[in-house]
């Protein structure tokens, strides 16, 4: 049974269609990332999954329960699901420990609020109310709030926005430990570095539809080599050195790209050629295309369906 199963989901706001026939499967015990530009329909999709919004069409199943769930089915489902909203949700006059402890009282067998707060880097003894905490600190508390019910599935809507690098690393570690314990994660974010580090499966959305999906490696494709040099270099020597199946092009002014079956031998040849041209080794990079570049390429030119964050945030 998948953690989330969405089939042909449609979400409309009046005349605007925020989600247009979206289908996806989020696996159990895996991190599924929903990525895409603003207005792609990510938040609307998550809002339907967590019961904050009704679908206009299509079907959604969360942990095997068909939505919308009411009465005891709703309570039963919500015991197993944690949610970190894109913003807000915390009582501004409350202190972190009492906020998380209150939520813990709503769940059977909840986690220890103190341990969770320590895990996200918040002192459980602090008497500072949430309204006086920084945005990043509030996100840390919101993460603890999402996990306090020991969820089997957690929805995280832009969880690391506003976190400092250390906070992001702490969050990554916490999420990995949750997944290792069997928790499934549906993550939406614009920080594709998080996705590359955490996601098992990536769903790229634009205009309310899925435009691509797969593992990070599938989306970013084969390894390639990039190097910088003077504009309009004569590449004929390098082309002659490269094995069959590899090619080199000046992608933009002074930026060169070697594609094909790139392996260490090819890298060695490119490095040697660059050395003969007087290029420094720090100008040469080897690896996959950044996910960010892939997502921008996949989603550029696709008209966004609507401002999904403009609905009822």
């Amino acid at each position: 049974m998948p953690a989330v199963l969405i089939d042909d989901l449609t979400v409309r706001y009046g005349d605007r269609e925020a989600v247009r026939g979206l289908s996806l499967v989020a696996g159990t015990g895996a991190v599924t990332a929903l990525v895409g530009p603003n207005g792609a329909g990510k938040t609307s999709t998550v809002e339907v999954c967590v019961g904050l919004r009704a679908a206009t069409g299509g079907t959604v199943e969360v942990l095997g329960t068909r939505l919308p769930a009411n009465g005891s089915a709703r309570a039963s489902l919500h015991r197993d699901v944690g949610v970190m909203l894109q913003d807000g949700g915390l009582y501004s006059t409350a202190r972190p420990r009492e906020m998380v402890a209150h939520l813990a009282r709503l769940y059977p067998g909840a986690a220890d609020p103190d341990e969770l707060l320590v895990a996200v880097g918040i002192d459980p003894g602090t008497r500072t109310p949430l309204r006086r905490m920084s945005g990043g600190e509030q996100r840390r508390v919101a993460a603890a709030a999402a996990l306090v019910g020991r969820p089997r599935l957690v929805f995280l809507d832009e969880p690391t926005t506003g976190l400092d690098p250390a906070g992001r690393r702490t969050f990554h570690d916490l999420l990995r430990s949750q997944v290792a314990a069997g928790c499934s994660v549906l993550l939406t974010t614009h920080l594709l570095d998080d996705v590359e580090r955490l996601a098992d499966h990536v769903v790229v959305m634009a205009g309310g539809r899925v435009v691509a999906s797969g593992g990070v490696a599938e989306l970013t494709g084969d390894d390639l080599i990039r190097f910088r040099g003077p504009v309009a270099m004569d590449l004929s020597g390098l082309r002659a050195d490269l094995p069959l199946g590899c090619s080199v092009e000046e992608q933009a002014a002074g930026r060169y790209l070697v594609t094909g079956s790139v392996d260490p031998q090819v890298l060695s040849r490119v490095t040697s050629w660059c050395g003969r041209q007087g290029l420094m080794s720090q100008d040469i990079r080897w690896g996959r295309r950044p996910l960010e570049e892939v997502v921008i390429e996949l989603t550029s030119g696709i008209e966004q369906a609507s401002d999904d964050e403009g609905g009822t945030r």
Binding site: G89, L106, G149
Partner: protein, 249 residues
Amino acid sequence: MSGRTAQRPAQRALAQAGWEMRLLLRNGEQLLLTVIIPVTILLVLTLTDLFPQGRGPEGLPRSLATVLTVSIISSAFTSLAIATAFERRSGALRLLSTTPLSIRELITGKLLATVGVTAVSAVVVVLVAVVLGWRPGPGAAWAVPVLVLGVAAWVPWGLALAGALRAEAVLAVANGIFLVLLLLGGVVIPVTSLPGALGALASVLPSGALSDALTTALVTGSPDAAACLVLVVWAGAGVLVATRSFRWA
């Protein structure tokens, strides 16, 4: 599902009630509404001749009934509507909606918290009344269920208002209704002192009915049955409206 032992709805409602009361009593503005304003009104009513209910030998119990009515309307309607509207705007209700807490449990929690806050206010006001010379008569015991009925008649309407308008509009409308009912709804000026049609209208409003029921309980020893019936009708209608119209987001 995971098969984890389910918590009872009552446990969640009580947890929510404790949480609401904790936040309410920490709020300085709420303490002003809960304690300081009612005590001030009691002093003004009993120590001056500005209002009719403060005069004569029954002045103190009548004034006490008026002040308890004001306290209930401010806590169970005005404050509740404003606080809930801002909880909605801040996203706090959206987050709660993702937990096992149901709307019915949330409303029960808010009702119980309001009863608790009103009880705190009533104890303080009664103590001040005792200092001023009031002694509980046989009707004092009747005042307790009337107070609870009054809270039940106002809470659902506060919640319904909170869900009907934007937070800023709720702030203005809730305070506006509070002031109008205080002056023309049979509270500060008793129903019997209001001109004909206005008096008749006020007697079927929850403000006038609550004031009537408390006054008769404290002065004659038993609450006016018709006023209590009016409160029951408002409570029942309010619960229907609130449970059908209340939305998390």
